[in-house]
Structures are given as C-alpha cells and as structure tokens.
Symmetry: D2
Subunit: 367 residues, 4 copies
C-alpha cells in the first residue's frame, strides 16, 4: 500500500534512507532449499556500487549485505530472508546546503508536500541508494531462476544520442563477458568506447546525460504471466518504471512497432522441434509475450533513463519558504546513471519473473 513492497508471492519490502543507519530488504515467499551464495550477492552489489570507474560517482561505499534471517546451513528455509546493508560513507554535512532548498527535478518538493517532513540528507528515501537493497534481493531471485534455467541479461544500449547496434550474439555468457570488458557496460566494444568518451566529456562539463538499457530474458517457460491487469510485460513495465530516473519502457517491437502494419508485425508460428508444446515464432515482435503470457521465445525490453538531475552548475530554484534562490551540485555524483543501473534492471526483471513463476505454480500444480 505505502509503496515499499514488490511482488505477490516472491515479495520484497525494502527500507532505509541514503544517510540513515542502514538500508535493507526482506524477501518473503522465497521457496526453501535454495542454496545461497554470498559471494554472488556481493558481486551483484559490486556492479551497482559507487566508485567503480571514472564515469561513475567517486563516493566510496563497500555495500556489504549481511543476512539476518531465513538462511540455515547455507540454504533458504522458506522463512523471511532479511538483509541489511549498513551506510558507511554518510558525510551528512555535504547536504546541509540543500536542507531547505528544492533541487530541480528531484523529489525534495514532492516529498515535503506529501509528508510534511523529509530526511533531506542525500535525498533520504528517494535516493537511488535504495536500489542496492533491490540488487541484493535480485541476486536471490536470480539464484532461484538459474535453478530453472532462466537467465537475464541487460546492457547499456544507448547514451545520449549514441545508440548501440543490435546484439551480435544470443549467448548470455558471451554477452556478459563483452559487457564487463568495459566500464560503461555496453556489449558492443566500439560503441562502448564512444559512450565512455562522451560521458567523460559530459562529466568534465559539470553536466549529466541520459541513456537506455536493453534486456533479454532467456529460458522463461511458456505460461508465465497472468491475463488482463498482471500481464507479464505490465509487471515488467511497473518494475522498470519504479527504478529512479526511468521515463520510458517498451517490450518487443515497442514504439517502433506502433508504426508497423499487421502483415509485417505478426509473428508466424513454426514447430521446429515437432513438439506442439514447444512452438517458436519466425520473428519476435511480440518480445516473447502474447496476451501477457510468455510464449517461450526470448523476452526483450528496453528502458529509458533521464539525465541525472544533480549537475555541477548553478541553477535557480525555490526554497521551503517559497523564495527564489540558487543551488549548485556538491559532492560526488554520477554523470550518467546507466552503467550502474544495468544490474538494477536485471534485478527487477529477476524479481518479476520469480514472482510470476511462483504465481503460475500456485494454481497449476494441483493434480
């Protein structure tokens, strides 16, 4: 209800503010007997962590997740799995200059108006720091999905007006290797270099820039997703739009598909395995989802991120008293959010698929 939970069966609730004691997450509904690999959780958190490279914020936080419950002798027990990530590098003093000013295109004004109180330190709850909790939960979801042969890949497909060509491989392991070879996390090496140079120039200019992340989900069994309101792509859309700075979502043919005609857009069914339960389609404009339900093809979607609102330039704004004032970004901020957001996109996708996997089971396992 108050917006801090996600999922129906595999359900997470996150808590914590940017400069409070800690952030964290409870997963409720995680099946028992899933092996927990804390090194994997950490490697996922490390992909989101600040201070990774010259094109991300220089803040230092180790972002170490501690499991408080729900795991016994290395396996999940079916009980709520709670993880806490302490806030180390709080430097609250950095934020005194914004205590009573509304930063443009941030959530300061809306939180103040909604709640009549706000923790202004680092954006408080509206800070993207909260997404670390999602990444930790996403790592558990990924472990569950991997057991079922489901794998998720996302990469930076666009920065500003730079757009990567279509992926040249359908092998997720290979794609991950290509992506992790560069600091912008684009699976196309030439485009990656272009993006890195561009972000670096933007950073030096004290400015920021938006970008796009594209994703593939492989191995989703036919049947996941629900009709009408909880279509698989509707839940993916909500998951992605809930990530800080996201302004757009499309799946399959997306906005471009709305310019097409039915005769070219329809995905023709074929039966290469001669198995009526394993059909494929010649094209995949449907993005792996038909009528809201997975059809066994790759699920594909794309997410648009606006430019980071905190810039290192002076901007006019209004303070809590309603007076005109000026504000200049201080501290350590990202010139472009997408390289660190790749793992967040994957985490949220994993949470959606895990939840739909369990939802699907609930009324289909009955003999």
């Amino acid at each position: 209800m108050a917006g801090n939970s996600f999922g129906d069966v595999f359900r997470i609730t996150t808590f914590g503010e940017s400069h409070g004691e800690a952030i964290g997450v409870i997963i409720d509904g995680c099946p028992p007997n899933i092996a927990i690999d804390t090194a994997f959780i950490q490697s996922e958190l490390d992909k989101r962590r600040p201070g990774q490279s010259k094109i991300t914020t220089q803040r230092k936080e180790s972002d170490i997740a501690k499991i408080l419950s729900g795991v016994f002798e290395g396996k999940t027990t079916g009980m709520p799995l709670a993880m806490v990530i302490p806030n180390e590098d709080q430097r609250s003093k950095d934020y005194s200059h914004i205590q009573d000013k509304y930063r443009p295109s941030h959530a300061d004004y809306t939180y103040q108006m909604k709640y009549g109180i706000r923790d202004y330190r680092g954006g408080g709850r509206s800070s993207a720091r909260e997404t670390a909790a999602r990444v930790a939960a996403g790592a558990i979801a990924k472990s569950l999905l991997a057991q079922q042969g489901i794998h998720i890949f996302a990469h930076v497909s666009g920065v500003g007006k730079i757009e990567a060509p279509n992926l040249t491989s359908a092998d997720i392991d290979e794609l991950v290797t290509m992506r992790e070879n560069n600091i912008v996390r684009c699976a196309d090496p030439a485009t990656a270099n272009e993006m890195i140079d561009f972000i670096d120039s933007i950073r030096k200019a004290g400015d920021t820039v938006g970008g796009r992340i594209s994703a593939i989900i492989q191995g989703v069994p036919v049947g996941l997703g629900e009709p009408v309101f909880d279509k698989l792509h509707a839940d993916l859309a909500k998951a992605m739009m809930g990530i800080n700075a996201v302004h757009g979502f499309e799946y399959g043919s997306g906005f471009a598909g709305s310019e097409m005609q039915g005769s070219e857009h329809n995905d023709i069914f074929v039966n290469p395995d001669n198995d009526a339960a394993k059909l494929q389609t010649l094209t995949n404009f449907s993005g792996g989802i038909q009528g809201g339900i997975a059809n066994g093809m790759d699920i594909t979607f794309r997410v648009a991120f606006k430019p980071v609102a905190t810039i290192m330039r002076s901007q006019q704004t209004i303070n809590q008293a309603g007076e005109t004032t000026e504000i200049t970004g201080k501290g350590r901020h990202d010139p472009c959010v997408v390289p660190r957001a790749v793992v967040i996109v994957e985490a949220m996708a994993a949470l959606v698929i895990a939840d739909h996997l369990l939802r699907h089971q609930s009324y289909h396992a009955t003999k």
Copy 2:
C-alpha cells in the same frame, strides 16, 4: 494474484469472456455519496463500442451496463458496485474456423499452454471486449475525480508513421470538442483527416496498423503517488501496458529525454502564486511527477499500440496438434485500434489516480 483485479483501495475486478453470457466489473472501495450518472457511463461505453464508424469494426453491440449493487437512490453507498454488460452479438459460429488453430500474435497458444483449456470463441478472456468493463469502472472513477477537480484527456497522436503536432490548447473541454469532431479521435483536424484516409486504405488492403495515444491529466493535487515501487508513473505504466496491444509507455520527456543532458532537462521551480505549497516548473520534462509523486503540473504520458493481429489475409500457422496450417481473418475486425482505445486509456488513468487519491488519504488525513 490471478491478474483480474486492479488498484489497492479503489479496486476493480473484471470478469467475462468475449462470447460468454456477459462481462462485468466489481468496484470495491468506492467512497460513498458519489452521484452516479448512468448516462455518463453509457456515453463512455459508446466511445469504446464497436460499429462506430467506417474505420472501426462493423460488429454491433449496444454495450449497456446494468448496475446490480452499491448504488442507492442515485448515490454510491460505499458497498461493492457491480456492473454487468450482457454479450449480445455473439455469433459463435464465426470462430469455429480457429477452434484448434493458433492465430499469429494472438494469445491462443499461450492460453492453451498455460491453462490446458481455453474458450476459443472470439479470443475468450483475452479479447479486448473485456476492456468495456474497465471503461464502465473508469466512468465511476472519473465522477469521483471530477468532484476533486481532476480531469483526464487522451487522443490519438499517431497512426503508423503519421504523427500529430503538439496540442495547441491546454483547455480540456476544448480539446475534447476538437477530438470528438472526427472519427479517429485526434485533436488536430488536419492530422485527423490524414489518419482517417490512411486507416481506410489499410482496411481496404485487408491489413491493420498500429498507433499512439497521448494523454494529459490536470488538477492532480501535489502529493499523490508513493515512493519506490508504486511511483505514480509506475502504476500508470502498468495500467497502460495491461491494455490489449500496448507495447510501450513513456511519461514526461520519455525516450527522447534519455537523449538529453541534465542542464537542459531539469525543470526549474518558480513560485508565481507566491505560495510555497503551489510551486510550478518552467518546463515539464518531469511530466508532472517527481520521485514518483505528483508535483501539481500536468501529468503527461504516451502509449504505443501494435497493429491489430487479425488481418484479412491468409497467414501460415500451427494448430493444436502441432501441424502447419493456414488461417485467414474472418468476421468484423478493427483495422486500427487506437480510435476506440482513447477512452480505455482515459479509464485506466482515472482508475490509477482515484486509487492513489484514496491511498494518499489513508495516512494523511490523520490529525
């Protein structure tokens, strides 16, 4: 859980298949003492009804909603408000030719695989006929919102590659008049004519085409929306992506915004009314929402619809036995879905805003 409900406090549950006895909806959580205008409900349903013009399906259905409960002496009572719309023009025979064939880019295959059974008549539950129930519920939500000075406007802003210019008016009454002056429901008369001619040519060619709907919501009070997962735009995205044939959603600056830089994208606060609780922004790239919460500016978003999958041409496909076969669209279908979908977009937007209005009240009315 099973996907047929939407909303947390103002919560609807729809039921019914295209060729069953009836479709309908229960609204639970509607506040009491809202005056119910059955003529208004009907006028909304008439905008979605088949058989409106030469560019929509020629099926005839009167789509009359009957209220079964929750209204007493013309006002809501706070009890569940149930509405039923009988299915009149069922012509089940039209569908015998698809009984065991999977129509390309429809939900036939996924429903059969998920449930092991499906009502194949007219697509059963996956038919867009179900959206009539949403429109009826949306009419009640609009009545509730109108009491609070909140108004919603959507129109067809794109068909195929044709794109309407930006709106020239900010007055919703005026925009509605311009939109209802033409059968494609585009508020720009010149573009409307172009769209109508194009759809008509597509129809004659036995083909279909996609399109786009743009929307504005005015009068939303500052503070609606929740942090983290239930951001106002995340719930709008889910609502829109749950409409049949929708493949993309963006709000505010959307995908285009992801190409911009922070210095041009940030919305500068101003205080024209000299009221610290009624700030405005000079630009509105934020689309009226910051940190997931309404900031009092117009909420703007855009929705992409794929071309209708049923075309009047022969296509190759697979049947339930896994054999290759052919299929040709029969019956009466829309060449382009967007003219009839405008009121569905508005209805779903109204349901999202009504729900967030009540959610916001729940913990803010406390003295």
Copy 3:
C-alpha cells in the same frame, strides 16, 4: 481493502444488498479444468435458503445461481468465475418502518455513521443474505478440495444451553446423513429433537436464541498453512468471525484447553503406518494444526452464534434524529440462525483450505 474480498490465491469478492437487483460473487484464481456441477451448487444453496422448515424464516427465495463467466464446456478455464443470484422476494415495503430507526444490535447505526448513507431495505449489505454468494463460491471450492480428497463437515452442536454429545462417527458421509435427517442439522438425533422443540417454543414466544456449530475437516495434507500471521487456524478464525452473528471461535482444545496442563494437553506422536511423513498423534488437542500448519490429523473447530437481533417484540431504540422511539420486528425472520448457517460455515472453511492449498503450492512445486 474495503472488506468484500476473501483469500489470497483462491480469492472471492462478493457484492449485492438484500433488496437490490442481485447478489453475487467473483472467484479469481480458481484453477482450470475443475468440473462444475451446477446441481451441487444448487443443493448447497438450498441448505442456506430461507423457507426450509418451521424453525427457519418463512421468506421464499429460490436462490438460483447463474454462472456468467469462467466456465467453458462444463469446466473451469482459470478465468474469473462470476455467479449472480437475483433477488426475487424483495418486499421493500416491509422495511419502511425501520427506514430511519436504528434496530438494536443490528448494523444500522454503524453503517449510517461510517458511510453517511445506507440502503436500509432488509439491512442492505449487512444482511445475511450476502452469505448466499459465499455458499455458491464455497461449492466451487468444495469441488476443488474433493479432487484432493479433502472433505468438510459441520453440524449444529448447540442451541441455547442445549449441547450435543461428541460425535459418534468419524465417517463424514454417515454424519451428513444423520445431520440431514432433521431440520435443525444436528448429527445427534435425540439432541436434534430437543433443539427443534426449543427453537419452536422460542419462535412462538416472539424471541430468538443463539447456538453453536462444530466442524471437522478431513484429508488436509500435512503442510497447509503459513507461519506467524496466516496460521491456518488464524485464517479459519477470520473466516468464521466474518459470518454474520458469530461471536466466538475456538479450534482443537479451545477455551477448555486453556484450563489444562501441558502434561495432559500434549499430543504424543506415533507412527502407525511406519512412514515418517505420515505421523499421527494419540490425542488431537492441537485440532490438526501445529505452529499454524496442518499436521494431517482431523482439523476441528467450533463457532458461537449470538441470538438473532430481530425479535417479534417491541423494543425501545433511537432514530436518526437522535430521538427515543419504539420498534417491533415485522416480516419473516429466523428464530435461530444455526440450522441455515451450517452450510455457510462449511463454505467458508472450504474457501480457507482451497486458498491455503494453492498458497502452499506456489512455493513448493518448484523443482
């Protein structure tokens, strides 16, 4: 949220007022391919129907449920299953005398205060007529459970100070036969006669009397139920307390168990089948549930109903203007509600067990 839905996965939402157009129910989350036996649904409704015998209300309503959706060729499709029961015998005039008076121990005053409006005809939504919708939904749940070998039995175990002896059979078919042999629905014939005579004398005196219903659920597999808040008995308690006129619930040893000592109350495990997954207990003070989760033994519980509030005598009360006035019951009311409530208790128990069956599956079917 607004209180008209029950269940998480097998979820029902009821609607309708006593003297409105119709009452009804949507079941969302019913698994597909359950055979629907409309005669069975009707036979269940007939057990709750008014006008059955001299000790129930003499109102006549045929209470015929019409299925509007979710069933195709005699089987559930996994889509929402909607049922409507028209209100036939409305006689609204019977209620003009209570239009602005608050009947003692009814919901008139609280509904008026809560909503500022109420459908006073026959109690509107607060009428026990709403439970017919639950019985119809319960019939579907029972069909699902019967497929899994789960069976529910309830009977009238107490009326006023009359208390039936413990059941002499553990065979549900036999118990049902004994119960249906008499109009008070007590499985002990001698006690049944005593109860019938007592209720008849109460009725002649223009008064009413309370009673108790006891229930057994057989065949529930080990593992159903959830920890902490959604213990199986906690959900049974909520389900029973939500039935009109219920004032108390106990399971297993109940209130009497709170007077016992651990050494006599503990249920000793034994392994008669030499199967470590099919243990039994020598006693069953736990009522088939340990730690909120079914242990495979019979689930037992008991429900207390207050006397019907409408009596055929003059009572002092207050009207909407706050003035003292008098009121006398008119029309056709039950002198004792328990004979008709037996099937409601069974229906609600079936809904709880069906829901927990599907919930349990959701995270345990994962391979």
Copy 4:
C-alpha cells in the same frame, strides 16, 4: 502471501528466528510526524522479555530494539520504519538434543514436512521470540492511537481453572497500575496471588498450564471496521489467533452469548449526550462492534492460550527417521505464557485498530 505480514495500510512484516542473528520488523504505511519515544518502545519490550520473575522463563535477553530507518529528528517520516532486535543469548547447544526429534505439540514436524528444512534451534521461526518484533511495532501503533485518544488494556483473566472476577474499574490508567502491581499481570490482586501460587506449583512439578487474557479498547471512533470479511472483530480474531499458543477468541458476549435469547442479548440504544452521532447502548453484549464496525462503546474480547508444550518431564515421541524415542524439556521455559503475552495481545490489537483507522480514512476523507 507467505504469512509474515499483517495489516493492509499500517502493515508490518516481521523476520528472524529464535537463534539466528536477529529478529526485527518493518512497518510500512506508518503516517508521518508521529513522535517516536524509544523509552516507551523499550518499556513495552520489557513486559514481554524473558527473565522477569520466578513464574517466567529464566532466560536472559535484553531485547533492545534499534531503529534503522523511517525516523528523522525524532519523528516518523512516512517511510518504512525498520527495527532490529539482536539475539544475544543464543546457547544453540541447548537444542542439539532436539535436532532430529519432533517435540510433542510443537511445530517441528509440520515445519519439516512443509519446507523440507528447518532451523531447529529453539524452534527457529516458530518460536514465540518472534513476537518481540510485534511488540516493538505495536508500540508505534499505540503511539499513533494515543494521538487519537484510543487506548488498549489487557490483563490475565484466567490461569488454569482460576478465573478473575469482572473488572471493577473502567479507567485504563488505574487498571494498568493494578495489573503491574503483580507478576502475573492480573488486575484483581486477590486472584493474582492465587494465580502466582498455582503457576509456581505447576513450575515446580515440571509442568505447564494454560490461561486466558481479556482486553478492552477505549476511544475507538464510530465507523472503524469494514463490512463482510474484514469485520473489525474478524481482524481482531485473526490477530489473536496468530499469537503462539492461542486456541480461542471471543468478543462481546462470546460463547456465553450463544446460550442467550435475543430479548436479553439485544443492546438498547440510548442518547445520553443528546447527539445523534454519539449514541450509547445500555448493555454491551455487542462488545463495541455491530455489523463489523465499531459503535463507539468499549471493544471487549477474550483470548485462550493452551499450556506451553515444553514440559520438564520425559515424553515419548518420534524422530525424523520415524522411530519412537523419548524427549525431555531442557533449558529455560515458561510454566505459563500469559503474563508475558499480555503486551503481545495489546500490540496485536493496536496494529488492528491502527490499520482500520487508516483504512477508514482512505475512502472517507474525500471531500
């Protein structure tokens, strides 16, 4: 879904096992600007804490709750309020003797069957230690309710066959004083002494005994509660039945009321304040709730606790291999749970009322 959350708007999720790292709770939906009194939270936890007196377990745990989020400068912010209580006195070795034995009338067998894995140390998640998290959350709910003039009182009204007389005061402050004057927490001094002596004798005999807790809620405004399934007493019942060891719940006249006749049971309305919105009733068999909705009178209910299952005597049981074995309670256990459960009953009642307060607001604050 997985059972570790409670409430719809004021919603808590607890986590943690008896001998894990920590237990804790997230409150989501707490209104902003509630002053947080950590001393009060602690004083509540101290009432549940082990080691209080000779009639409770001698385990020592300081049970200190640490707030991790959701509070800024002493006030709630509307963000998730997370609290963690570290587990200090773990002594896991105490439990090695039960590692593969099913303790009679505990949850060992059902957890093992349901999940295929269990944290056997101290009962893991099924331990009543989890209720400390509820007490911490209940303290926040009580602070919210106190602002609205709502107060809750519970005390031990029965131990074994000993039953306290009816309360002699209607003043909650006075009742609290009387209750806290003795270690069994019964507001009647003479009965308290009798109870203490009896529990002490039971303890010396290595046995345990059940008991009963009675509660009053004062100041609940007319209108709280929802119709049909979420009646205020239905949610209270679920809340109480979810407390470890509870086997029965009744409100108002309860089971005794089911033996009465309508003419004596009906609560006659009066209007002593000459205010049509502040009626009272001459009697209160309705327990302050009519049709599921508070009527402004005191809400009264009673809860039955079975005897603690762990006794200091040898009992026969079965181990995980299905073999017959013996078990003897070790360690430090309560001979009677009710003195420590009083504050748990109050906490759960506070959570129910707080949730219904916010639910009621959600659709009634609309102008």
